[in-house]
């Protein structure tokens, strides 16, 4: 299951917003992946997410694989589109 999302966070995926995202992603059994251009990141890894270097307005692809993929998408998509404060 995947969706292309435009990042809403003013500071992109900096330490604080990235930390918030990772905390939420860890709440799901599913494998969570973020992709930007040709780079992919493990959504449950802060280091991996930070190295994407994603900024506000960037298009990222959110991919969830597993039993709770649908609820992961429901929770994580609005998170990425919001300000992740």
């Amino acid at each position: 299951m995947e969706r292309t999302v435009t990042l809403g966070s003013k500071s992109g995926l900096h330490a604080r917003p990235a930390g918030v995202f990772v905390q939420h992603a860890k709440g799901f059994q599913s494998q969570i992946t973020l992709a930007k251009n040709d780079k992919t990141a493990n959504g449950k890894s802060i280091l991996s997410v930070l190295t994407l270097g994603a900024e506000q307005g960037d298009q990222v692809v959110l991919i969830a694989n597993g039993d709770d993929a649908q609820s992961a998408m429901n929770e994580l998509v609005p998170l990425l589109e919001g300000d992740l404060g």
Partner: protein
């Protein structure tokens, strides 16, 4: 004897023996393991868990903004990719130490190569996480232990390293890097110990156990002092100690003139550590909390700000005046796009920036303030105000924030609102703010700078500004006649010569560095109000 020069970062004088902290932990990144890979992977997993547990304990002890820095490091320690990457390296033959160091370095390089300077700066956090794990693998602690009184000499001291130190043993700090406004300066001032930073080559020139004199006022470190220097330092130390003992009695007394007129003595703070210091020194409240000190890693979210302000308010249990972020061209903030300006002191700063960026800068802070005010005596103060319209616009934002909070079911309370008087414009028209504000506080450093048109950082002209010159005294007199309660929170408020003049002109609250609180109370108690008024009138007439 040798004298080293650095930047004075925290005042005071100390004589003691050096404890040197050398950057340790060199790791051979090509080292091959001699045990089975499963054994090595288990060792690594255990080391990571120990590092996390140690960091958690530190975080509890630290509180406030230091805890936030440690929280970011904890997330990295707990990162599944870090462990998997290191396991893969172990599988190819490396030791756990080499494996984790290689993976941490690889992430650090990737982060450092990103165009965003904020992300690039996280590279150091990953390396630090790697070092923490290596330290656990070797069974050593990265935290510095002090089991006897000593002067610490180090390349630099990270926040995590200073939290665990027993302040009773820490006599002074000397570092090779750092600035007068850096983290270490703030910590040292909070603890009331002298610090000299930016001492180039300190570790090369100071041996473990050498006697040192650290002079935090002049930014000097004397290595292996001769008899003359030593006895001079001992005399100064004895005088300072006697003075401190004499001042003890004033700590728990209210600020009052000799004839019993109340003048509240508050403290200026920038951190939780200084809030503790303010309580310890007997401050009757906080007259200025410089909230921009919490923006070192960008503007924190509303929830993070709420937690910080609440912790400070709970520590104080007395009035807390919070100044909204005083940021601008000379104080850049990560994540905020503030263009470079030719004259940042005359530019887009303080209330001007806040009102132009309500969603990003102002509202999260105001909401956090109003929520803390539901349970504590908190008052809001605005920096860099020039005209009443700025206060009117702020009131509109506060009203809508209160309505939003009520709708969201969050507890909040309307609070007293005041302004900093730091521009001549605000000083001469303060009467026009009546009804809009509940108090005013004179920021003397900026008021002097703007009145005399003298940049206080320009050594060629800074002596031309006269802190107690007629221009300043006349402005203060005018401010005191505006019909608004007036405080002073600039450096002048802690100056023994200035205190009688300020009170004589009508100031009834002085907000000073925490360590100055008892001394200011002593000055107040030594004169009657009538004497202070006479002295002020005499100065105005000259």
């Amino acid at each position: 004897m040798k004298v080293l020069h650095g930047i004075p970062a925290s005042p005071g004088i100390a004589i003691g023996s050096a404890q040197t902290i050398h950057p340790v932990l060199s790791v051979d990144v090509t080292a091959q393991r001699s045990v089975d890979e499963a054994v090595e992977m288990t060792r690594l997993a255990q080391a990571i868990q120990q590092a996390i547990a140690r960091l958690d304990a530190l975080r509890m002890a630290a509180g406030g903004s230091t805890a936030d820095i440690l929280e970011a490091q904890r997330e990295m320690l707990d990162d599944p990719e870090l462990k998997e990457g290191a396991d893969a390296q172990i599988a190819t033959g490396f030791t756990a130490e080499a494996a984790i160091t290689r993976v941490a370095a690889s992430y650090a390089e990737q982060l450092a190569s990103l165009p965003d300077p904020y992300l690039a700066a996280r590279a150091e956090d990953v390396r630090e996480a790697g070092r923490r794990i290596v330290a656990e693998l070797r069974g050593i602690s990265l935290e510095i232990r002090l089991d006897h009184a000593a002067i610490l000499v180090a390349q630099d001291l990270a926040p995590a390293e200073t939290v665990g130190l027993n302040p009773a043993y820490l006599q002074a700090v000397v570092t090779e890097t750092g600035s007068a406004t850096g983290h270490l300066a703030i910590v040292a001032q909070g603890l009331g110990i002298p610090a000299v930073v930016g001492v180039t080559g300190a570790l090369a020139q100071i041996d473990e156990g050498t006697t040192l004199i650290v002079d935090g006022e002049r930014g000097m470190v004397t290595v292996a002092p001769d008899e003359v220097s030593r006895s001079e330092a001992e005399t100064r130390l004895a005088t300072a100690q006697r003075d401190r003992r004499e001042l003890e009695v004033y700590r728990d007394r209210p600020g009052m003139t000799a004839d019993g007129v109340r003048v509240e003595v508050f403290a200026n703070i920038g951190s939780l550590a200084e809030a503790h210091k303010a309580v310890e020194m007997g401050a009757e409240g906080v007259g200025l909390f410089r909230t921009e000190f919490i923006t070192a890693h960008g503007i924190p979210s509303e929830e993070e700000q709420y937690a910080i302000y609440k912790e400070v308010a709970a520590t104080l249990q007395r009035p807390l005046i919070v100044r909204t972020f005083d940021i601008g061209g000379d104080k850049p903030v990560q994540g905020l796009d503030i263009p470079a300006e030719a004259n940042p002191f005359l530019g887009w700063r303080g209330i001007r920036l806040a009102l132009d960026r309500p969603e990003e800068v102002f509202l999260p802070q105001i909401r956090a303030f109003l929520r803390v005010a539901a349970s504590y005596d908190l008052r809001i103060m605005l920096p860099m105000v020039t005209v009443p319209q700025e206060v009117e616009a702020t009131r509109v934002l506060i009203d809508s924030a209160l309505q939003d909070l009520e709708r969201e079911g969050k507890l909040a309370r309307r609070v007293p609102l005041g302004i900093m008087v730091e521009t001549p414009a605000a000083a001469v028209t303060l009467d026009q703010f009546r009804g809009l504000i509940d108090f005013a506080s004179i920021g003397t450093n900026d008021l002097i700078q703007y009145t005399y048109a003298v940049d206080r950082t320009n050594v060629r002209v800074r002596e031309r500004a006269k802190p107690l010159g007629t221009a300043i005294l006349r402005l203060i007199e005018q401010v005191c006649r505006a019909g608004v309660p007036v405080a002073v929170c600039g450096q002048l408020a802690g100056d023994a010569d200035a205190v009688p003049l300020l009170v004589g002109l009508g100031v009834r609250e002085l907000s000073v560095a925490p360590a100055r609180v008892p001394a200011v109370k002593r000055v107040l108690s030594g004169m009657t109000l009538a004497d202070m008024q006479a002295r002020a009138q005499q100065r105005l007439a000259v």
